[in-house]
């Protein structure tokens, strides 16, 4: 396989669970600075695709290249360190810790055992936490225990935790699920701001939201890519209408 300019190049990716192919010979490229949205009906393999990219599930075949580096054999933490961040479907934050601690723990320094022992929260860390907290609109809740945040705020916090790592590729699984209209708007703005200098993959169901943020849309169905392109083009595709948008 050739080197590419793409940030992420997924080629011929396949994974099967006891014979069932959740991802079937899938190929996907993501550009630098691109915000890609993946849509598709339930069970299409969207979340499995993210799991494969971030190493949570191991592929049965195919390749995943990030900045031309093969990722399929790396452990999860190594993939993260290479620059891929992943947000889970349900907010995955440390409920017992304060917002501040949540962000501090996500700061990419002192990641080894002894590094963590020696880690000090120096001024640059503090500045970064303040910066991210402002970005995600939680600057006023830094001392609050994360479990006490509202659902939407938890989603933002998890995004903030990813931002702390400053990843080059950010993958968000249904970031606005369960959010109010107002929160959705704020999130759209947030995503617009943070994709300035990085690529993103977002899984989403809300078509208005998708229209608003997507540079390009990929439609998945039964582990395969059904259609890909601009939102208008995809929406007009009869196959897409058939399996997904139609109902």
């Amino acid at each position: 396989m050739s080197n590419t300019d793409y940030v992420l190049a997924v080629e011929d990716l396949t994974v099967s669970f006891d014979g069932f192919k959740a991802i079937d010979n899938l190929t996907l490229y993501v550009d630098r600075g691109e915000l890609r949205v993946i849509i598709g009906p339930n069970g299409a393999g969207k979340t499995t695709l993210l799991d494969l990219i971030c190493g949570r599930t191991k592929a049965s075949g195919g390749s995943i290249k990030f900045k031309n580096e093969e990722m399929t054999d790396l452990a999860e933490h190594a993939i993260v360190r290479a620059g891929i961040g992943r947000k889970f479907q349900t907010p995955s934050i440390y409920e017992n810790l304060s917002v501040w601690k949540n962000l501090e723990v996500s700061f990419p320094r002192g990641r080894g055992v002894f590094g963590a022992l020696a880690f000090r929260c120096t001024d640059d860390v503090k500045d970064r936490i303040q910066e991210v907290a402002t970005e995600i609109g939680l600057a006023g809740q830094l001392e609050l225990e994360a479990g006490l945040l509202s659902h939407g705020q938890k989603q933002w916090l998890e995004i903030g935790m990813l931002l702390m790592q400053d990843p080059e590729l950010l993958m968000l699984d249904e970031p606005i699920a369960g959010m109010s209209v107002r929160e959705r708007e704020l999130t759209a703005e947030l995503l617009g701001r943070i994709c300035q200098n990085r690529s993103m993959i977002v899984i989403e169901h809300d078509m208005d939201f998708v229209k608003r943020i997507a540079h390009k849309v990929t439609v998945m169905h039964q582990g395969k890519i059904l259609a890909e392109g601009a939102m208008e083009k995809v929406q007009a595709d009869p196959r897409v209408i058939d399996v997904y948008l139609g109902h």
């Binding site: 999860e76 933490h77 993260v80 995955s92 501090e104 723990v105 225990e145 006490l148």
Partner: protein, 403 residues
């Protein structure tokens, strides 16, 4: 007020002060050397309990084989002491003088080469630190890298304990078998059985224990401690923040093992023998209950728990020999069912809120909001097991409304 809150916020420190008072002043002054030596013995178990707080309370990993590490540490020290006790003059009755008595009983005529280095105290000390840690590293590395945890880990550590017991008992020519290594007398010529030696060893033990507590406290306060809490809560999130979760688990398992090793060595010194009955499954589980009674999240609580259970055991088995097993059973069940966070949890749940409330009633107290924050935090931190659903969010939302 701020001072008080600060003081309560670090209630462990208050506990440490109380414990220090008890261990360094009250007990040495109020008990005779026999009881003090007994307390010293209990305090060696406290090393295990402190290790379990780090491993189980903070790391969420329950090991039922901590006795293995306690035993290994104890045996390393006992081997040194036994060699010193087996000089050719005091063993002249044997067919091969100069080797430990149990070797002679098993027709071994020369000291095995792997025993030789244990003639030197520095080597023995090094060994008692390194060997338990190394074993923990091997077991931990293999298990955690493959993400074995929870119940499986507990059972596999049990199997390790069983293997080591069978090995030690089976290889009695080299280990003393069921009897263990008995009749340890001197360390570098210093008689460890005299009252003065017992006093000194008691204080050495206590100082080491406090050093261990402070070291663990420092770890808890560091980012590593935060990460361990985070891991217990959302392991995947930690992993996807770029941390190799297994390494942290291996570290804390090794740390706990090393503490056990120190405890075991102090046991050999203070009690004067070491036996495989510490290595097995039963003592390992009993040691878990020490930590559980004291509070699996509290370092100081674990020490108090160890003292309490052992006092209870000694007292009840002296006063009600037929009933003490029932009482032990009740203790196990009661602590788990009613007080999953042990003594420390009782303090957090009842004493502290009460203290705060009485303070809050006074007029000069600023708005109640921060107090609520403290109470909710204590509610949230009550989660003994990561699997337990968190009561925190609802409690939190109700909190301000109540205030």
């Amino acid at each position: 007020m701020t001072k008080l809150r600060h003081w309560l916020g670090t209630s462990d420190l208050a506990g440490i002060a109380l414990l220090a008072l008890l261990v360094f002043v009250v007990m040495p002054l109020s008990t005779d050397i026999f009881r003090l030596n007994l307390i010293g013995k209990y305090l060696t178990y406290a090393f295990v309990a402190v290790g379990l707080v780090m491993l189980w309370g903070y790391g969420g990993i329950l090991s039922l084989g901590q006795g293995v590490f306690f035993g290994l540490g104890g045996y390393c020290m006992a081997m040194f002491l036994k060699l010193e006790a087996s000089d050719p003059i005091s063993t002249k009755i044997q067919s091969t003088p100069g080797i430990p008595d149990f070797m002679d009983w098993n027709q071994i005529t020369a000291l095995p080469t792997w025993w030789e280095p244990f003639r030197h105290l520095p080597f023995a000390i090094l060994a008692l630190l390194v060997i338990p840690t190394l074993l923990a590293f091997i077991v931990g590395f293999a298990m955690f890298k493959r993400r074995v945890g929870g119940v499986y880990f507990a059972i596999i550590t049990q199997a390790v304990a069983l293997i080591l017991t069978v090995l030690i008992i089976g290889q009695q020519g080299y280990t003393g078998g069921v009897n263990g290594m008995t009749d340890l007398k001197t360390m570098l010529g210093w008689d460890i059985r005299t009252d003065s030696a017992r006093y000194i060893l008691y204080f050495v033990n206590a100082i080491l224990l406090f050093a261990a507590i402070f070291a663990c406290r420092a770890i808890q306060k560091s980012k590593l401690g935060t990460l361990m809490l985070a891991m217990r809560d959302k392991e995947d999130r930690v992993r996807f923040s770029g941390y190799d979760v297994a390494n942290f688990k291996v570290f804390v398992f090794c740390l706990a093992a090393m503490l056990c090793g120190i405890g075991g060595a102090m046991f050999s010194l203070q009690v004067g023998f070491m036996s495989p009955s510490f290595v097995g499954i039963v003592p390992s589980i009993e040691m878990v209950i020490f930590a559980a009674v004291g509070g699996r999240m509290s370092l100081v609580g674990a020490v108090f728990g160890t003292l309490l259970v052992n006092f209870g055991k000694t007292y009840f088995s002296e006063s009600f020999p037929q009933l003490w097993l029932f009482l032990m059973a009740a203790l196990f069940i009661g602590v788990v069912m009613a007080f999953p966070n042990g003594l420390a949890g009782l303090f957090e749940d009842y004493v502290k809120p009460w203290l705060l409330r009485t303070r809050a009633k006074q007029p000069d107290v600023p708005p109640a909001e921060p107090v609520v924050e403290e109470t909710t935090r204590s509610v949230a931190s009550r989660t003994g097991d990561s699997v337990e659903p968190l009561p925190a969010p609802t409690a939190g939302r109700l909190g301000p409304a109540v205030a």
